[in-house]
Assembly symmetry: C2
């Protein structure tokens, strides 16, 4: 693989996508493969880094039968299309017998160190933003989401956001994580939450699998950001970061999120 351009650092991300956890048996293999890669591209989006290549490690339960090989081929067709769409190389892969059907995708890419973001770095007083709309993604959008690569790079490279992450487990789990990583607290206005059609505000907070960007912006830049935002994608200000000692404020909403590990 090509080395990062001069002045850039390498960025590495890995994500597991397993049957029975991240997708169900009946789902189309093309969408399953696509999701496995899209999850990692979404990780890159949230850092502001540019993904250059991925490695795919597939585990199969039992022997590689003709049906299983056909499934993997179709999954590769789906993930290959997504990689082409975003100009990311398939740098290698392997298939191994394992405990169940799963895809571990590892991504490699780069960014300028000063233009990379993480969950740390948010400050009290920052405004909290999310892209897109949230909730009920499990009805199908969790397989078809677009990783917000252009948006993430624009936000990070332009110095708009201080902390950023992607919403995989739901705002109700991921915002507390961002706050904890940054050592501060938060207040969310339930009325400001962008809900998907048919999604209640509780679902927008706790369903998970939205893969939208969650980020914080210095108060001095928040209005300018709303004016400068060049994307068709919806952008919503949903609250403020609070000092460490403030209890989280959620307007009565239960912040729980979705736990992939349980």
């Amino acid at each position: 693989m090509q080395a990062p351009p001069h002045g850039h650092v390498a960025v590495l991300k890995t994500d597991v996508t397993c049957e029975g956890v991240h997708f169900e048996k009946g789902e189309k293999p093309e969408w399953v493969g696509r999701k496995a890669v899209a999850r990692v591209l979404s990780d890159f989006a949230a850092t502001g880094a540019r993904p250059a290549g991925v490695l795919i490690a597939v585990t199969l339960e039992g022997r590689p039968t003709a049906a299983r090989i056909a499934y993997i081929r179709r999954a590769y067709a789906g993930l290959g299309a997504l990689l082409r769409q975003y100009g990311v190389a398939l740098a290698g892969g392997e298939t191994s017998r394992g405990g169940g059907l799963g895809f571990t995708v590892s991504g490699y890419g780069w960014g300028r160190r000063a233009a990379l973001r993480s969950r740390t770095g948010a400050r009290a007083g920052d405004w909290i933003f999310v892209t897109g709309s949230l909730g009920t993604s499990i009805r199908g959008r969790h397989l078809r989401f677009e990783p917000r690569l252009a948006e993430g790079r624009w936000l990070a490279a332009g110095g708009w956001c201080r902390a950023m992450m992607d919403l995989s487990d739901g705002l109700g789990k991921d915002l507390p994580r961002l706050a904890q990583s940054s050592g501060i607290s938060y207040a969310v206005d339930p009325d400001a939450l962008p809900c998907n059609k048919g999604a209640a505000v509780e679902q927008a907070v706790n369903d998970g699998e939205d893969y939208e960007l969650l980020f914080t912006v210095p108060a001095s830049k928040a209005t300018a950001l709303l004016k400068a935002w060049p994307f068709a994608l919806r952008l919503s200000c949903i609250g403020r970061m609070l000092p460490q000692k403030s209890p989280p404020q959620t307007g009565g909403l239960v912040f729980r999120g979705y736990d992939h590990a349980s």
Copy 2:
């Protein structure tokens, strides 16, 4: 992560290590974690690249109970010690529920393009070499092997070898792969095979899990290599690469190897 030094390209490798396939339930978690990382470092050794960092993706069957968390902690202790030994960074990781206990390790590193090797590039007339000794590794060495990083880099950077790979599935499966990738054939002298203590020559060929280096050297350099070899590790010339149309010659040995996928 640090970008590759000027003039180098990035090298990416991924490997899956699953319970019931690459290790058994009763084995010490420290050794299991160590093996998961050592397999990837061995991939780097076989290219002549320098590994810089790894990502660890762990899958667990079912909920993360206290016992399972303790297991993962011990596995990380084992793999962490190996990473420190070879100066490789732990660049990140995640734990997810999945179909069974498994570790997918993704490595990132670099090398000068001209000093990287793969299974392709062997030519008819090349001498075939292996490092170390082969066979019966499943009795325990498969958990404790040393990735041949120094040896691999020396061989590739010095221009000694044309094609190189590591022996994970046994010479009986891996040498035919190397020959096929290079578009040629091979002849092996059974009497020249370096066998581990207590290993029959059939075991040296087909047991697998040796993680030694297999490589081919131009005939004009083979004797000089044996003189120049600066390592304590055993080095054996075991045969010659043949033209494409020659049938493989194995002195009557059945070349089968070990298939991790079946």
